[in-house]
Structures are given as C-alpha cells and as structure tokens.
C-alpha cells in the first residue's frame, strides 16, 4: 500500500519507515500536518499514519480536513499517540480516525493495523466502483428515456422538460428562441409506396441530415410521426429561416428517391415562429404559430420554409 507517515519526531519517522518498507509497503514521511496535507493532495496515499500532536497542523486537524475533502477514495487514517495519552485516542477516533497506535511503534501492532486497513480500503474501493457504475447506468437510463429510439433525437418527454426551461429563461433572463417545425412531404405516400420499414429508414436519414446541418446550441427533437422540431437559441425569425432553408435544401440535395413526390426526391416543409421577451407568451402558442406557418408552407406547394406572419414578417 501507499502509506504517508506524519510525525515531527525524526526517530519515529525512521522507525515507521523501516517497519513499513520491511513489510513491503511504499512509504513517504513528512514532519508536520501541513506537509502531510500537501503530500496527501500530491500523491494520494491509501493510508495515513499521523502523530496526533504536531506543530502547525495537528494530526487531529489533519484527519478532520481529510474527512471533509470528499474525493470518492477512502483514506484509512491511523492516529499515533504517545504512551500515557489515552484521551488522545478517543479524540482521534472522534475526529474521524479508523484506528490508533501507541508509540513506541511495535512491528506486530503496525502489521495488524495494516491488515485491517487493506481490507477496509478494498471494501471502500468496491463500494465506490459500484456507486459510479450505478451513476453511469442511471445517466444512461435518463438519456434513453429522453431520446427517440428510431432517430436518436430528443423525444417528446425531453422536449417537454426543455420547453419549460425556455419559457422560464425568456421570462427571467430575456433570452430569445426561434422554433421550427419540419414535416416530411407526402410521407404517407412514401410509406404506402415503399413500406413502413423503408419509412422508418428515411426518417432516420432526415434526422441525420438535420443533425448534420445543425450548429452547436441548436436542439433537435422528433416531434411526432414525420414531424421534427428544431430550436435555435438567440436567433431571430429571419436568421432561423436561413438556417432551416439550409436544412431543406440539404435534404433535397441528398436526393432520397420519393416516387410519389412531384420533385422526385424526399423533401420537407417548415414553419417558424419566435419566442422573445418583447412578446412574452406561452411556448404552446409559439408552437401553434409555427404549426400554422407549416400549414401555409404545405398549402403553398410544399418543399418550402414559411415564417409565422403574426410577428410582422410577411412571406415573400
């Protein structure tokens, strides 16, 4: 084990180091509590054997400081007291020490203590790795429950959580969000022509295309069957239109064959609306506006991007 010995008496340090090295441990010695604290932060020992009375920082205060420093790894702390100081033992154990030793150090005693130390640190290590595995699985579970399994984009649940945040941020901090609803043109025809598995596959392709065009900070969700929602943070309706137009053109350029589409390839239509602090309202109203704009895009012949008219921007 890696053991740190803190003692202001050089003869005690020499004896401790000799015993520990003879027992096959790696040992570092320091002369007071502050030095021990620095060595602890630098070399992360598994066991600390510290004299209780030391200049600058006592062994008791060192122990309290280490217990307060929660790094996830357990440090086995043995407090060393001089023969005839029984009250120091109790104070030490109360300060967080795992065990105590009385000076002068006897090899057998030290060896016995280190057997316990090895056992306890192994248990703590096991506990910590189980805990981090649990944390990882939990994170994964949260991630899975917020992702649409087909496209890998955020699902309705993630969207619900995120929209609530956006509404609060707009009201409190004056943030602005541009929202775009994108819908695959004539998707029902696509499914009827190529079958549902091919339909699923093409939705995955659309999601990949949107992800490719999106920039850091943009959020993408699968909104419904063949409908996607894109949220652009701090974007105006105008710049949102530019971004979505890039997505629309990108998908058309990808040229996924769609026999039932007059263009011959798969296309999307999109409607945009903006949530900004100048016009505070519910996110659901903004989404409704975007949906109306999307409807207009469809009515105007599909494969096009339409901003909401309510904000004063008149479609060209």
């Amino acid at each position: 084990m890696r053991i740190l010995v803190a003692d202001d008496d050089p003869t005690s340090r020499l004896i401790a180091r000799t015993v520990l090295q003879a027992l096959g441990h790696h040992c570092e010695t320091v002369a007071d509590g502050e030095e021990a604290w620095e060595a602890y932060r630098r070399s992360r020992p598994e066991v600390i054997i510290s004299d209780s009375m030391m200049p600058r920082l006592s062994g008791l205060d060192l122990c309290r400081r280490i217990r307060a420093d929660d790094t996830g790894t357990y440090i086995y702390f043995i407090i060393l007291t001089s023969f005839g100081d029984p009250e120091q033992i109790l104070t030490g154990m109360r300060a967080g020490a795992d065990d105590y030793l009385v000076k002068p150090l006897a090899t057998d005693d030290l060896q016995a203590r280190l057997i316990a130390a090895e056992r306890v640190t192994a248990l703590h290590g096991q506990l910590e790795s189980q805990r981090s595995e649990l944390r990882r699985l939990n994170d994964e579970l949260v991630g899975v429950s917020r992702r649409d399994p087909l496209t890998g984009l955020g699902n309705r649940r993630a969207l619900g959580d995120d929209l609530e945040l956006l509404e609060a941020r707009t009201a409190r901090y004056g943030h602005r969000y541009c929202m775009a609803l994108l819908d695959v043109d004539l998707f029902k025809t696509y499914n009827d022509t190529y079958g549902h598995p091919a339909g699923d596959e093409v939705l995955r392709e659309v999601a990949a295309q949107l992800t490719q065009e999106a920039r850091a900070g943009d959020a993408l969700y699968r909104y419904g069957g063949e409908e996607f929602l894109c949220i652009f943070a701090e974007q105006s309706l105008e710049s949102g239109v530019v971004a979505v137009e890039r997505m629309r053109a990108g998908l058309q350029h990808r040229a996924l064959p769609h026999g039932g589409n007059p263009v011959g390839v798969l296309t999307v239509s999109a409607g945009l609306a903006v949530l900004d602090p100048e016009r505070p309202r519910l996110v659901s109203d903004v989404l409704k506006e975007a949906d109306e704009a999307l409807y207009r895009a469809k009515a105007l012949g599909r494969n096009r991007v339409e901003p909401a008219v309510a904000t004063g921007v008149v479609p060209a």
């Binding site: 003869t11 020499l14 004896i15 000799t18 004299d51 006897a106």
Partner: protein
C-alpha cells in the same frame, strides 16, 4: 552539554533491553543499520531539545516546556530510554509551573539520565 561531567557510567539499566532487541530485529529484517541511524538521530535531537527546554524554563514558557518535553519523551521511548521518558513525562505534566524548583530539578535529572542513555546507545 554535560559530556565528560560524570565518570564511567553503568549503561545496562538506562535502556530497555526488549525495545533494543526489537529494533535490532527490525533492522535485520530491513537489512539496515537501524540502531546506528537511530542513535545518531536521537543524540543530535536530544541535545538540541534539552538546551531548548532549559531556555523555555528560563523564559517561563509553560507551553513550550510541555511541547518540547513531549517530543523528547517520544524519541526517548523509541530508543527504549524508559527512565528518561518518565522524567520527560513529569516535565510535560508539570510544565505549567516552569519557575518552580522542582521543574529545574527534574530537568537536571533528565540531563544526567540523557548522558547515561547516550553512553549506552553508543556502546550498542
């Protein structure tokens, strides 16, 4: 300090034979001259500490007396100097009355004992 002050000294009862035997075993186990190194460390630090004790007593610094006596008690016990450790313990306990005559008497006894201990250690 008090080197050469006394004549030939009995060295057999200054050190605890059990402690010395344990240190010898430990040194053999580690393949090091542990006793030699310990004697060197102890003789050097004990000389400084007794001088510091004297100064602290003169200054009437009770905290310093207790601290230094505690330290010397620890290193004495490490080399098996039981008698010296006991004298240090007395000083550590009564350090709050540094000006009292008894503290000086105990210190003087400790100095004499230290000479014996050093001679015994060197003879090992």
């Amino acid at each position: 300090m008090i080197d050469g002050e006394a004549g030939p000294l009995p060295v057999d009862d200054a050190l605890d034979a059990t402690v010395i035997a344990q240190l010898r075993d430990l040194g053999d186990m580690a393949g090091e001259d542990l006793i030699g190194q310990l004697v060197e460390l102890f003789v050097a630090s004990a000389a400084i500490e007794t001088a510091d004790l004297r100064r602290a007593l003169e200054a009437g610094d009770a905290t310093a007396v207790a601290r230094i006596a505690h330290s010397l008690r620890g290193s004495s016990a490490n080399v098996g100097a039981r008698g010296l450790a006991q004298l240090c313990a007395t000083l550590e306990r009564n350090g709050c009355q540094p000006t009292s005559g008894s503290a000086w008497a105990v210190l003087a006894a400790a100095e004499v004992e230290l000479t014996r201990v050093c001679a015994s250690l060197r003879a090992l």
